[in-house]
Subunit: 399 residues, 2 copies
């Protein structure tokens, strides 16, 4: 329980921490020339206010002015959930009526435009998350049409960037999530065998995920388990079906533990039977590459230094791969557990800072097999990054 | 297994069924004056092509021209998943390079605009799903900028409407989903007791959900279990935490079974201890109201007839409620298992047709408690709708 909680919501963070987040966002708004921010990404809404509910399938937002408290805005029935989860006084929680929902006559963002006008923000410079989740083209058109005197500024990922460096409490939630994902992987290796229908193993993974660990219940990860086998593992984002696991196939398990919406993703690959030489070579290369990447993941280095260290080792092993091999992680809602700011790739020169957390995620998706062995890492004050989970860094083989 | 499957993907439907869907969509396109449709809603993409993967956190689409085969377009690494799941030949599957992903320099919809231009569609009348999931304001801006000679038409929900009437095979998948959700609810009533941490019951729900039933494995529902208790149940969309269930509280369980992405949602409420009179009154009113609504849910009646029948009974019982009390269901991906076309509400005059399926969902969210008792229903050729699940229509009480 948070010490910030009184009679009101059981907040996951102190009110001081929320105040500090708001300060950081306002500094970023000022730098971007924004008077008023409309954040629709559910992860940003939660990070700013504590809001937690599966209501992001309808339009909703947190509105951040430069002075005064933010507004939570959403569907009327969800104002109850907002009152139960956000740190704002009830008069800062505003709902639109249900006849705006999936209506062809009324759009929620017409209501939002009127609300912003009523608050004196009709001619503001308004930052909107043009490319964040759930801010549709229609939402933007209605907001622009409803506020003809406002100026709109692209604020995509503005809040996401402020989430990059984690607080002590955020890190403690991610450590709980790491304990959970370790347990999920142990359970997989314990149970998997040829002939077991895939969905039955998923049942055990999901069970372990929600059970959590002593003192830390499991929350739902922002992505469901991904576990393609054999040739299907050439595709990174397949989920599961009810066909059985087969001998002679590698299956990678891309899963995350989640506690209070904070994630620790971790992937491992399991081979049933005797692995062929190319998969054993992949194991050696990726293990060495992870070592090199983690060693380069230091405060003062750049995101690309991790990627270059990893790709350097892979090249020595004669494996060709390019593109992204990781991204920042933390608080998230579906459809993604990444923060969508930095990328661990050769072109990204973002500076690494203590408290940043990444999923270092160098999957290999070849023409007829796939291999994943990944780590969630924390950039420390000094020295190489700390892997959040403690799980053997190897290919698991069951014969 | 689908009889449409050969050496290629294990399609959930015959190629004839996909061809029929395409015909229906093209007829709707013609009626709307659209030459080319860009469908980004993952449910629409799957319904049109079979595409199945958790890749909707990056930009992707299915492009439907009036003549010739559709295109699947998405991230290069996901073209592998597309080749494994869609009914299109591989030359109709097109990927954009990874340096478009979460980049501030390149946007995937710049790539899409160029692709459409290359296909000779630069001056087409292009239908875009302005308010469907994952079509962001930025995506639209890049497409419009990249195709200055095209005309853009709002095609929000155009494909969704074509999904309303289900085929025999779709209904058979939903019947499997209904068997699954029955089992999930039985497990809840079996296990729930005061003192049990909520996440531990969720673990059992998720386990049962993925296990599925004989011959039909469980897939992931598009919404995670919602199960608020006591005063929290005044809020419809809270998920769970690790606090224990308490005596003297009602908890509603809004959950769905899912098979091959087809859903059968069903909500029931469990009271631990002796329920107070207002909850017993709610039970009687909602059970009677559901009966009346299901009796009105007949081919030839309208969506509003279901709502009016239900609200009529509620009013007789002295309970005030308004707004939506249901929506169409079927194939879905997060964040919603609804189809986002019709609404069961007094203002919706959509005609009910045989084969339509709805979640008739009259939740009561009062100031300090909540009650849900719902049914997934199928409109029949004649007579009242068929509830897909067979689960006692009552408040469950455990003392």
């Amino acid at each position: 329980m948070a010490d910030g909680a009184g009679d009101g919501p059981q907040l996951p963070f102190t009110t001081d921490e929320y105040a500090d987040r708001l300060d950081r966002v306002r500094t970023a708004m000022a730098a971007a020339g924004i008077d008023l921010l409309v954040a629709t990404d559910p992860s940003n809404m939660a990070w700013l206010t504590g809001y937690d509910g599966w209501s992001f399938y309808v339009h909703q937002a947190v509105v951040v002015p430069m002075d005064g408290l933010p507004l939570w805005w959403g569907r009327m029935m969800d104002t109850h959930g907002a009152k139960l989860t956000v740190h704002l006084p009830h008069d800062r929680i505003v709902g639109y009526s249900d006849d705006h929902v999936q209506s062809t006559e009324r759009h929620p963002h017409q209501h939002l435009a009127a609300l912003l006008g009523d608050h004196g923000w009709a001619d503001a410079r308004i930052g909107v998350e043009l490319d964040n989740y759930y801010y549709t083209a229609a939402a933007h058109q209605h907001l622009v049409t409803g506020l003809p005197d406002a100026t709109f500024v692209d604020a995509t990922a503005l809040v996401n960037w402020e989430r990059a460096v984690k607080s002590e409490r955020e890190i403690s939630y991610m450590r709980c999530a790491a304990r959970i994902v370790e347990r999920m992987h142990r359970r997989i290796v314990e149970l998997i065998e040829p002939g077991m229908p895939k969905n039955e193993l998923v049942a055990e993974i999901l069970h372990t995920s929600a059970m959590g660990v002593e003192g830390a219940g499991g929350d739902y990860p922002a992505i469901v388990p991904l576990l393609p086998s054999g040739a299907d593992a050439s595709a990174p984002h397949l989920t599961w079906d009810d066909r059985p696991f087969a001998s002679g196939e590698a299956t990678f398990f891309e899963i995350a533990g989640c506690h209070r919406r904070y994630h620790a993703p971790l992937s491992r690959t399991v081979f049933l039977g005797d692995p062929p030489p190319e998969i054993l070579r992949a194991e050696v290369a990726v293990v060495d590459g992870l070592d090199a990447g983690i060693d380069a993941a230091r405060a003062g280095n750049r995101a690309c230094d991790i990627a270059n260290a990893f790709y350097g080792v892979l090249e020595e092993h004669g494996i060709e791969r390019s593109g992204r091999c990781g991204y920042p992680i933390g608080l998230s809602y579906p459809p993604d557990w990444g923060e969508r700011t930095m990328s661990i790739r050769p072109s990204d020169t973002s500076m690494l800072e203590p408290g940043m957390t990444f999923h270092f995620m160098p999957g290999l998706w070849m023409s007829d097999w796939g291999f994943e062995l990944t780590e969630s890492i924390l950039i420390r004050d000094e020295g190489p990054a700390e892997p959040l989970a403690d799980h053997p860094r190897q290919l698991f083989v069951k014969r």
